[in-house]
Amino acid sequence: MKKIFSIKLYAEGLRRIRTQLIVFLALSAVTSLSASLLVSGQVMRGVELAFFGIPFYVICVPMMTVRMFSFLNNRPGSDLFHSLPYRRECVFLSLLSALVSGIVCVISALGAFSYLFYLIFTHNKGLAPGSLIMFLLACLAASLLVAAIVLVTMTVSGTVFVELILSVIIALLPHLLLYFVECLIRSSVFSCTADAALLPFSGIENNLIFGIYEFSGSSPTFTPIIYTSALSLVYFIAGSILFRFRKSETAGHPAPSKGLQSAFRIAAACSISFIATVFFVERIINNYTVKLSAGILVAYIFSAVVYFLYEIISTKSWKSVLKSLPVFGAVILLNVCVFGACFGVYRAESDFAASPGSITDVKFRIMNFDSSRWTVSDYAKSVCRSEGVRIDDREILDELSAIIKIQNEKRGRIYTPDGAGSLQDLTLDVKCGAVTKPRRIFVSKGLSVRIYDYLAGTETYKNALRALPYPAGDPSVSGVSIYDGGKITGKVIDHDEMVKIITTLNAELETVDPVEWEELNGNRYEELNEIVYSFGNGVNTLAVKFSKELTPKTYAAVIKAAGEAD
């Protein structure tokens, strides 16, 4: 069996980064101590450690990676390591394991020190272990991705300069390019929503190298951690394959071949010019008077400077600069391709769902209600949204297509004879064949009513009307209003009592005529009896009408609870 791991090489790997590890461990201790002192008395969520965490994966991890695999940049080192009696896979995996161990060690120490110092300085009152662990996991994922990117660049080059440039390009360019193209689409295609992403996971928040603050700021989820870790795994696998086939003679040279040297040089130049091209397209699409602005022109010139500067620095030869001149045509050609691709993407996004018969179905992505105080009908509609009830009425869909087309052509909301004030802002997931994209459509009140009526006709809606949510969130908003012949009495009901009332109501609704129940709750007169309570995540409150005649058991339960509340 082929040996793919050597404990001796692993130990040697750890020895190679020993000094760095000691320094970084000391820094993590200092950081943890500082963070615990600075936020003493407040809840620590982990993000406070970012002032070590971010520099760690941006600066320290590349240093550790370059140190671990430094023999790839050094001919004598390359000679020694490649003449050792180990297969290349074994060298790679053993040293990579040592590198990952070093990274895990520093990040674990950061967490352990933080926990320790919090116990000492805040008597365990201010630590949120869950979010601290999530932040540390995010740091670990970002560190692994940085290490993987640097490692990939080390396998295709033999100088630190080229590796630095390529690492920045690999880490930044795909996300940055996607981000700017998405900005172009959002600013040019009126129906595109703010969260329209061209590719799944292309959002900057999913790449923890850039999105760690956004990740830590909101309630952290595992998605960015999984995405970043998966991406680093892909790079590690690519690195191992490239390492296996790497030409040893690359050590000390900018690239293993002239072709790759040209490719790297082109990539360096294109990392600037591509962004300029996207902006150029944006100005053309949006009919700017001056299409080639000074900024774009400067970016193009800077891109050309980078192209030649890269060649001079990487090869330290003026001759090679002259030789690289004809290949500059590739930079121009690639920019023409990006130019065309941007127009193609713009056209595809603009035309999406804009022709009659093209929409398969739609479902609500976001539902906007007039207030946070929901009616039972609002609640049932929201259930339709969360359960993804699809609207496939051909007439409605074709009207939506027509609106999307006009919106995109006119670049704005289109007012109909219904009147400007009656336009409803709908954010829908529009499905055309196998593709689903979010679209923001401003529809007339009439169409909006028809769409909601369509929902009201679904089983999901009807079931939701009779299966009301249980109280949750803020108990202070739980209360009842009882109309008693011209007098309204309001009572605050505690949580447990409100749970009993809703249990009684839900049981009673099984036997109540749904039409009558819907009519009762469609009545906006305040003189009716009403139960109000917060539910779900506590953001919204639900106002439920009830009556002595239609829901006598609930009425009795409310009277009883109100009497007890006195």
Partner: protein, 301 residues
């Protein structure tokens, strides 16, 4: 036995090794000379499985070297620029070799370091170039291997160190009967220790011969006659160079020494001396016989 068959190695458009074939028997101390860019270092790296050739095969005792740990365990390679960990001292380097090279004898290394008065605790970075090479040789010789490869390792040693290193090679390579390949710019560095010598030029082996054979098959003849004579006196003998001053001529001749002597004695010369050539001279005449000039070979051998 090292078997190199039709090996070609290119670096972009530059062909460093052009269809090289060599066979190095077990126990042989093989020397390779050649100017810069001749392909000596490349060949050693290919033999050690560091570079992968575009075509051809390299086998050690019949087994391919590339990505073959079992074969690499039997080889030690000392690069023309020895590698030392940044900031490391010899103690650390010995520990590294001990960890990564099976068969490394730390006690032997310590003995050799003491013998060569190399400080174990001083950073190798502070060593002179010669000391670094000595350290690299000692580290390599402390590994129990079957094949040793030294790339220009002995170039630039002072005479005292050179002599001590030669003794080491005698002790640890020749006496143990293991195989070694040594390269150098200069034939003088190799002639005392090698059994066999090759000359590489522009990626090809232009000469490959036993040292003893080289030294005996070429020799200088000094000849004088009472009567006038010309080069025709050597008819039937391969003459590489002929020069006549007055009645005395000097010729560089290739062939069997006794047979040449007998033929020339038969012509009744008044003077007949057969003198040995230095290895440098042998190489120069062999190459000129092959059609190479000093200028072409870099004039360094």
């Amino acid at each position: 036995m090292i078997e190199i068959k039709n090996v070609t190695k290119k670096f972009g458009a530059f062909t460093a090794l052009d269809n090289v074939s060599l066979s190095i028997p077990e126990g042989c101390v093989y020397g390779m000379v050649g100017s810069n860019g001749a392909g000596k270092s490349t060949l050693l790296r290919v033999i050690n499985g560091i570079y992968r050739p575009e075509s051809g095969t390299v086998t050690l005792d019949g087994a391919p070297v590339w990505e073959n740990p079992a074969v690499k365990r039997r080889t030690v390679f000392v690069s023309d620029e020895p590698y030392f960990e940044p900031g490391a001292n010899l103690k650390r380097m010995a520990a590294m070799y001990g960890s990564l090279r099976p068969g490394f004898d730390a006690a032997l290394f310590n003995r050799l370091a003491a013998e060569f008065e190399l400080p174990l605790k001083k950073a190798v970075g502070a060593f002179s170039k010669g000391m670094k090479r000595q350290a690299a040789v000692l580290l390599a010789l402390s590994v129990d291997a079957d094949y040793y490869f030294f790339d220009e390792t002995f170039d630039g040693f002072d005479p005292v160190v050179r002599s001590r290193v030669r003794q080491l090679i005698n002790r640890y390579i020749i006496d143990r009967g293991v195989t070694a390949m040594l390269t150098s710019h200069s034939l003088r560095e190799l002639e005392d220790v090698c059994d066999r010598l090759a000359l590489l030029h522009k990626g090809g082996v232009v000469l490959d011969s036993e040292v003893s054979e080289l030294k005996t098959s070429l020799f200088k003849v000094q000849l004088a006659y009472n009567a006038d004579y010309g080069k025709e006196i050597f008819d039937g003998i391969e003459v590489l160079e002929f020069e006549k001053n007055g009645s005395v001529c000097t010729a560089v001749v290739k062939g069997d020494r006794e047979e040449v002597r007998a033929r020339l004695e038969a012509t009744s010369p008044v003077l007949l001396d057969i003198l040995p050539l230095s290895l440098d001279e042998v190489f120069r005449f062999e190459l000129s016989a092959l059609g190479y000039t000093d200028k072409e070979t870099g004039g360094e051998i």
